[in-house]
């Protein structure tokens, strides 16, 4: 088998043991390639455990800029004997295996169609370091040095990154650089050259490299959230922690040194959403970040906020469900649970960002929409966007932008004799006016409750009063349709009867799959939906095609169900393409599935499923 030869276009996967300190070394590897102007797309694949279980870090090196997972591995850095067989099996024919050869393995442990690169890492560490923890940690840096030699990564770039990393701990700088050179020197002298390589390029441009949770947290800072109440849950915890970090830097009153924010780690998810409801009721912008099980717990309060019409922003970083499901794996399976959260008839606004750039933008949008619509707004991300660093367009903010605080009636307006009926639809958009507590000594106070009431907030169990409010809430939801981010259409180069709809983190894999299908003669128009309620463009897109593939990462086709329900579309027209094993969807999977379906509909693919 001919060894794979590829420059700036391959996949490296690190197989490690959770808790062995490999994360920062692996990230260093990915960033060094990025600094050489070559886009990378890294992904953490980790267990729900602190120490001992297998963990992986997959880096796709891609000058073409494909940021989805490709599938397959060209170079496996196999540092975990526990997963040896599975790791070996993932290597592409002609690929490479790098392993710790302190105790050399017999030929039977390898595959004939791959190249094996053995390096006695443990032996080198034991000969250099006395301290067991140092032996463990520097082993990781040593293999980064070795890979730098094998892949021709500029050592100076890595040294600069190490210098940045240890700016505040200069004592650690020299030992890390030393370990890096140990690895580099050994590989240069004792390992054969391989067919993979990184060359300086100019394909990164002005893009930034950040994870979605940090981006959403920053969006909350910019969007004016002053109260954050949260309860730790993977994969959303780092969002609240990032909010804390940004607030400490950006939200301190320069004159007094005191905080213009409050962050409460609540006793549970119920209390966290309760605090957000209280703050929203009292006119501060507030949010919580959680994941599926948290959403389940919050349901009663979400219903209260919907019915009592209180601004609430909920960030749901989705993971594998149901129940505890796969806490550290990704899915898009909370869509229905959020769209209809709580008992009774509810419909909630969902925002669906594709990458950290949109996480930032949509977080600020969510805070605006919650105030404008006086209702819960869900920002739906997932572990794949939330916890993995991704290349994306830099953040942007217009200083002329003003927060949309919605319809809040002031004391002056009440004095001027404006009729105040808390639940009265005076503007025809379904959105009533509200007053904040203590607005006026004698006017505008009202009683907020989850029980039925009339347009003036007076307790009422009269059927017509209840129906009036429920209809108005529908009207409000319809108003939301024109306020949420519009879907993005990407037309095929030639007219086609086939379309595909997708959303969120599926985006980069989808883009690559469409290109691959195109190369195979299958043309597809695509529509990326960015919010629910769906703007009319979604219905028009479906009407304009004979058949539409709905690509999503859950078992039951939840986006498809929402679309069918929203527009009364014949489900047979919408073909589900579903991926839900907990790993991020790959371009290979999408192109393969659509190619297969397309074949069944009489479309002949030239090489269905060929990707990258």
């Amino acid at each position: 088998m001919k060894p794979i030869e590829a420059v700036n276009d391959f996949v490296v996967k690190f197989a490690n043991v959770n808790g062995s300190g490999s994360a920062s070394a692996n990230e260093l590897f990915a960033k060094s390639i990025l600094r050489m102007g070559v886009p990378v797309s890294p992904r953490n694949i980790f267990p729900s455990n602190i120490q001992g279980l297998p963990t992986w870090y997959e880096v796709r090196v891609t000058e073409a800029g494909h940021l989805g997972r490709r599938g397959g591995v060209d170079l496996m850095v196999a540092m975990n004997p526990q997963t040896w067989d599975a790791d070996l099996a993932e290597i592409e024919p002609g690929g490479y295996l790098f392993y710790d050869s302190t105790r050399p393995l017999p030929a039977a442990k390898f595959r004939a169609d791959i190249s094996v690169l053995g390096m006695p890492l443990t032996e080198i560490c034991n000969g250099t370091y006395d301290d067991p923890r140092q032996r463990q940690l520097f082993k990781n840096i040593i293999y980064v040095g070795a890979l730098a030699a094998l892949l021709q990564i500029d050592l100076a770039v890595i040294e600069a990154l190490i210098a940045e990393q240890y700016k505040s701990k200069p004592k650690l700088l020299a030992p890390n650089v030393h370990a890096l050179h140990l690895g580099h020197d050994y590989a240069s002298q004792s390992l054969p050259a391989i067919g993979l390589g990184v060359r300086q390029a100019d394909a990164v441009g002005g893009r930034i490299f950040i994870d979605g949770n940090s981006a959403a947290a920053l969006g909350c800072v910019y969007g004016g959230a002053s109260v954050c109440a949260w309860y730790p849950i993977t994969p959303s915890s780092s969002l609240a922690e990032a909010f804390q970090k940004y607030c400490q830097k950006l939200r301190v009153d320069p004159d007094t040194g005191r905080n213009r924010y409050a962050i409460v780690q609540a006793e549970d998810e119920i209390a966290s959403i309760g605090m957000v409801v209280g703050a929203g009721w009292n006119g501060a912008r507030a949010f919580t970040a959680t994941s599926g099980p948290g959403i389940s717990l919050m349901n009663e309060f979400i219903g209260l906020a919907y019915f009592a019409e209180i601004p609430v922003t909920i960030i749901d970083v989705q993971r594998g469900g149901p129940s505890t499901g796969m806490p550290t794996r990704t899915q898009q399976s909370d869509l229905l649970a959020c769209a209809h959260a709580s008992h009774g008839d509810t419909k909630h606004v969902l925002l669906l960002p594709e990458d950290p750039h949109e996480c930032f933008e949509f977080a600020a949008t969510a805070l605006d929409l919650a105030d404008r619509l006086q209702t819960p707004v869900f920002l739906m991300t997932d572990l794949d966007i939330g916890m993995n660093q991704r290349l994306c367009a830099p953040f942007a903010w217009d200083d002329a932008r003003r927060y949309d605080r919605g319809k809040v009636m002031t004391a002056e307006e009440l004095d001027a004799g404006k009729d105040f009926g808390r639940y009265k639809d005076v503007d025809g958009d379904g959105i009533p006016w509200r007053t904040l507590p203590a607005t006026h000594p004698t006017r505008g106070s009202y009683f907020t409750r989850g029980t039925s009431r009339d347009a003036y907030a007076r307790y009422s169990e009269r059927g017509p009063d209840y129906v009036y409010n429920m209809q108005r809430l529908l009207q409000k939801f319809d108003t939301a349709r024109s306020l949420v981010p519009a879907p993005i259409l990407r037309a095929a180069p030639r007219p086609t009867p086939h379309g595909a709809i997708f959303f969120g983190s599926t985006s980069p894999a989808m883009a690559e799959a469409i290109d691959a299908l195109q190369a195979d003669g299958i043309a597809l128009d695509t529509l990326r939906v960015r919010a629910y309620p769906f703007p009319d463009a979604v219905r028009d897109f479906i009407a304009a095609h004979e058949r539409v593939f709905i690509v999503e990462q859950n078992r039951d086709g939840q986006l498809r169900s929402l679309i069918v329900d929203a527009f009364g579309i014949d489900p047979a027209k919408l073909v589900p393409v579903l991926h839900y094993d907990g790993t991020p969807i790959t371009a290979r999977f999408i192109a393969g599935a659509i190619g297969k379906h397309a074949g069944a509909y009489g479309v002949t693919a030239l090489h269905a499923g060929r990707v990258a």
Binding site: V204, G206, I208, F209, L218, V221, Y222, G224, S226, V227, A229, L250, D253, T256, R258, N259, R260, Y261, V264, A266, E267, I270, A271, I273, G274, M275, V276, V277, G278, A279, G280, W281, N282, A284, A286, E300, F301, L304, F395, W397, D399, R401, R402, Y403, L436, P437, A438, H440, P441, T442, S445, Y446, F447, T448, R449, G450, T451, R458, Y459, S460
Partner: protein
């Protein structure tokens, strides 16, 4: 809950307080609770306390959970915003509301079902966080609104109207509040307005988590012989440790109350609590002593009432979080948004 508003006609000679409001200005809608319900007496005491303290009614935010007691905020302070939240989870909503605007007075009204059963978790955490509020539990030992089931404060051995005997041990809300770190802990009795009104006034003046457990007999389901939450029982077994006056900051109210031993406790807002000791060995500054006293008297079947503990130096949640004085709900883009130039720097750091 009612939609019957009280007529707004005031007698022209009704007395006004220092800010020109009559007592009627502190009332709410007509109560729909049973005639004789202890909760209505508590509403009346709240009205009296706020009127006497010269509080602008609209500066109070009144929050409750679900249940008979939680309906009551509709029956007082009609000019203030009320919020009937979900069962047992009022404390978190009150916490969020308080974070949004620290300048209002927060009044949490709850019941023993709401706070001691479903809401025990949130009750515990709102106390330990030191949220600045007055938290009143209207404690009748029974679920009234669902017609007579036991709450977690029900007496062991008591028999419900359906004939079920309670075999669980009761929770003591006062003992828990002391243990959880509440900085003002009191117990009152709905039938003793002379004691209850000053307790509510002192709780409102207190900067921190103030808790009052008010025994409030349920005339429909728990006012029978053998109940420790009946009018008769509490009247007979009331063990008041002190009586109280309060002189709020910025007013000149003085009350001469010659009654045995008297101590004054200055709150950090300048208000003065004047405690008239009925039991000279009782020290309301001693948290552990209060717990012991309570337990010892409870074992004798006595209901200890009065101000049981106060920490005049209490710090509230805003102090813990070191937040700015300005209410968060008044902060705008200038205070909250770091701006495009800062964002550009952040972008640079991410390359």
């Amino acid at each position: 809950m009612t939609y019957i508003a009280k007529p707004k006609l005031h007698h022209p000679t009704l007395a006004c307080n220092a800010i020109g409001y009559t007592r009627r200005d502190y009332e709410g809608k007509v109560s729909t609770l049973c005639a004789g319900c202890g909760h209505d007496s508590i509403s009346a005491a709240i009205i009296q306390a706020c009127w006497e303290l010269d509080i602008e009614p609209h500066r109070v935010a009144k929050l409750s959970g679900i249940g008979c007691s939680s309906k009551t905020p509709d029956y007082f302070l009609g000019q203030s915003h009320g919020f009937n939240t979900v069962h047992g989870r009022m404390p978190s909503v009150l916490t969020g509301a308080n974070l949004a605007n620290r300048t209002l007075l927060y009044l949490g009204v709850s019941g023993d079902g709401d706070s001691a059963s479903i809401g025990l978790g949130q009750f515990a955490h709102v106390m330990r966080r030191g949220v600045d509020m007055t938290y009143i539990v209207e404690n009748n030992g029974v679920y009234g609104l669902t017609k007579g089931q036991f709450s977690a404060t029900a007496d062991p051995g008591s028999v419900s109207k359906k004939g079920v005997t309670n075999t669980d041990s009761p929770l003591d809300m006062v003992g828990m509040a002391l243990m959880l770190g509440a900085s003002f802990v009191a117990r009152g009795f709905s039938g003793d307005k002379r004691q209850l009104v000053p307790l509510i006034k002192a709780a409102i003046a207190h900067k921190g988590a103030a808790f009052i457990d008010v025994i409030s007999p349920c005339v429909a389901f728990n006012n029978h012989a053998g109940s420790t939450k009946s009018y008769e029982y509490v009247r007979e077994h009331n063990e008041a440790v002190n009586r109280l006056d309060i002189m709020p900051a910025r007013t000149e109210i003085t009350v001469d109350y010659a009654d045995g031993d008297t101590i004054e406790v200055e709150q950090h807002d300048g208000s003065v609590l004047r405690l008239h000791k009925l039991h000279t060995d009782y020290d309301a500054h001693d948290r552990v002593g209060a717990m012991n006293y309570l337990q010892a008297h409870q074992a004798k079947g006595e209901v200890v009432t009065g101000l049981l503990y106060v920490d005049p130096e209490a710090r509230d949640l805003h102090a813990h979080l070191d937040t700015v004085d300005a209410p968060f709900n008044t902060l705008g883009e200038r205070e909250l948004c770091p701006g495009a130039a800062v964002l550009e720097k952040i972008n640079k750091g991410l390359r």
